[in-house]
């Protein structure tokens, strides 16, 4: 067991290391990315640039720079931005986390509820018009570019119908902390939640529908029927119980990716200062310390989610539990 944990940890570190190297190299391959000019300020003389370069170590070999960066990010934890000088990277990332968590958590609640609900309803009515209609809707959700849908939602709720009773409650874009005003927090997030969850509702409903229909072909469902169980019990305790394992693994990975900044487009469109937008800004600013921090952060969540999903999978699915 301990060995397994160590191996898993090694895996995580390895992947994170690989990604940090890739991100680092991508950054240094960018022209105009020499941060000296920005650190020195505008209109600095070439001499001043050279001075900055030396003092920040940009004239050192890449691996030394990489080492220093990682040391400051993970060990000293005092890495500061190249663009917003003096801003420590770690607290900034930590500050963005609750925003992303708020967004993703709310959206997750919606998409799990709606996705599972739609999946079940479609399975119950499989082959009928209801099933087909729901699946068409789900597919529409999957087919929509999230940024476009977000813009349209903004257009509707902020402008076109903002003056009507329907959307007059929608506050301006941005984010209000839950602790500042829970009601405002909720109101600002409703539209982003909905937008983000639409894709996943479609996705989950489809996956669940497919998985449930497959389960209904399984022998054990036949056994359950032969036992005299009611259809709802067969659905909930037997078919769904098995499908949920698949769905939860999927959910874990999606949730991890989103918490890690995967909701970048939603955050940009709705102007939520979360990890995704932080990353996007860092990339736009070519702010290496921030890029490294956010990339490491996202990767950490993706890798962690992978690990957790494995554990959860084992916990939920006794077959997997014993296979190890």
């Amino acid at each position: 067991m301990l060995l397994a944990v160590v191996r898993r940890a090694f895996d995580m570190v390895f992947v994170m290391f690989g990604i940090s190297v890739i991100a680092f190299l991508i950054f240094f391959a960018t022209p105009g990315s020499d941060p000296s000019a920005r650190i020195a300020g505008r209109n600095a003389t070439p001499e001043m640039l050279a001075q900055v370069r030396a003092s920040f170590g940009f004239d050192r070999p890449l691996y030394v720079q990489y080492g220093r960066l990682m040391q400051r990010l993970f060990i000293a934890r005092d890495l500061t931005s190249f663009v917003n000088r003096g801003q420590k990277v770690v607290p900034a990332v930590l500050q963005a986390t609750p925003v992303t968590l708020s967004l993703v958590f709310g959206a997750a609640v919606i998409w799990l509820t709606a996705g599972i609900g739609l999946g079940i309803v479609a399975t119950i009515f499989r082959g009928t018009v209801i099933d087909k209609g729901l699946m068409l809707l789900a597919l529409c959700g999957v087919s929509m570019p999230v940024f476009w849908f977000g813009s349209v939602m903004n257009l509707i709720t902020q402008s076109r119908f903002h003056d009507t009773w329907l959307f007059s409650w929608v506050p301006g874009l941005g984010y209000t902390s839950f602790f500042e005003s829970p009601s405002l927090w909720f109101k600002t997030l409703v539209v982003p939640w909905f937008t983000l969850s639409v894709l996943f509702i479609g996705l989950y409903a489809r996956v669940l529908r497919a998985s449930l229909s497959e389960n209904y072909q399984e022998d054990y469902v036949r056994t359950a029927r032969a036992k005299g169980l009611s259809e709802s019990r067969i659905m909930l305790r037997h078919a769904l119980r098995t499908s949920l394992i698949t769905l939860l693994s999927m959910f874990g990975l999606d949730f991890g990716a989103l918490v890690g900044g995967g909701a970048i487009l939603t955050e940009v469109v709705f102007n939520l200062p979360g990890i995704g937008r932080l990353t996007y800004q860092a990339l736009q600013n070519l702010d290496l310390p921030f890029i490294m921090a956010t990339v490491m952060y996202s990767t950490f969540f993706v890798v962690l989610a992978n690990a957790l999903v494995d554990v959860a999978h084992a916990w939920l699915d006794p077959r997997v539990r014993d296979a190890r």
């Binding site: 991100a23 983000l196 996007y280 890798v303």
Partner: protein, 346 residues
Amino acid sequence: MTIVSNTSAAPAGKDKRNKPKGPWRTALSRLLRDKLAVASFLFLASIILSTASATYYADHISQTDPFQSNLDGHIEISGEPAEIMAADSEGLGLGVTPIGPTWTGQYLLGADAQGRDVAARLLYGGQNSLIVAFSSTALCLLLAGVVGTVSGFLGGIVDTILSRLLDIIWAFPIYLLAISLSIVLISKGLQIGPFHIPSNSLLLPITIIGVVYVPYVARPIRGQVLTLAKSDFVLASVCLGMPTARILVRDILPNVVTTLIVFAPIMMSLSILTESSLSFLSIGVQPPAASWGTIIQDGQGLLYTRPLVAIAPGLAIIITVLCLNFLGDGVKEAFDPKAKLRVGKD
């Protein structure tokens, strides 16, 4: 109950009029029986055809160059001259509004902020969106097919290295990777050996999108090849003394190709969405070339006055992706009903 499926395995010789059908033809005929898939395919074909007619449309119907700014032009609408970019006269007289939908041949869907015909651009943009989607899918499937097959078939250290590499790319959030690569490559262009891809070339988004999705396809392919390599019929080939290369070509690749075919429509829909996202962030298709994503981005600045500029390309994307997904479902059912594919990712 699946008792009926027995009938599909009708033994030979009983059915006289049916010529022996290969698995490809069987799958194809199964696909052709899927009405929704066929309809989607036809719809897609009509989208492709109409985007292919972009030049004709621009030359003969809209009669504007959709790539030239037209900031001080005029057209005639029912005899009356109308400015394409009309400075506003109400209030303080701030702002300039492009001409709206005219519902005539010219500026059917109105003009964008550069005074260009949106309808014509939509068609040209569609060309690029589809070219990017198609090419990046082809690239992705090719790379993934090669990597997955090599990794799964050779095994050992090659497999270890390749799958680790895939693991790393896979754990790199897809949009982050695509955006990072785009920002870098858009400013510099890409140098692969003697070939230089300039930064405004369509090849850049194609390469980027093609590469970032490789793990999504290569991993299942690798798994499949691993299973195939242990399958009875490969074992039979080994037992018959078939050379390794022949086993690869005859026994493994056809199955890999099937999987790739099943992946193709889904990857295309993913590519379209990814391309539009990158273009939306101005790091996909570069102006003056257009794609549906860049038109949405252009329209973003006109969302409040001319929402159609942003909404129309969005609808084009949805319809196309929807068709691709329907087609994908059909292809999956026809070629490999057991395949477990995941569509879409934020």
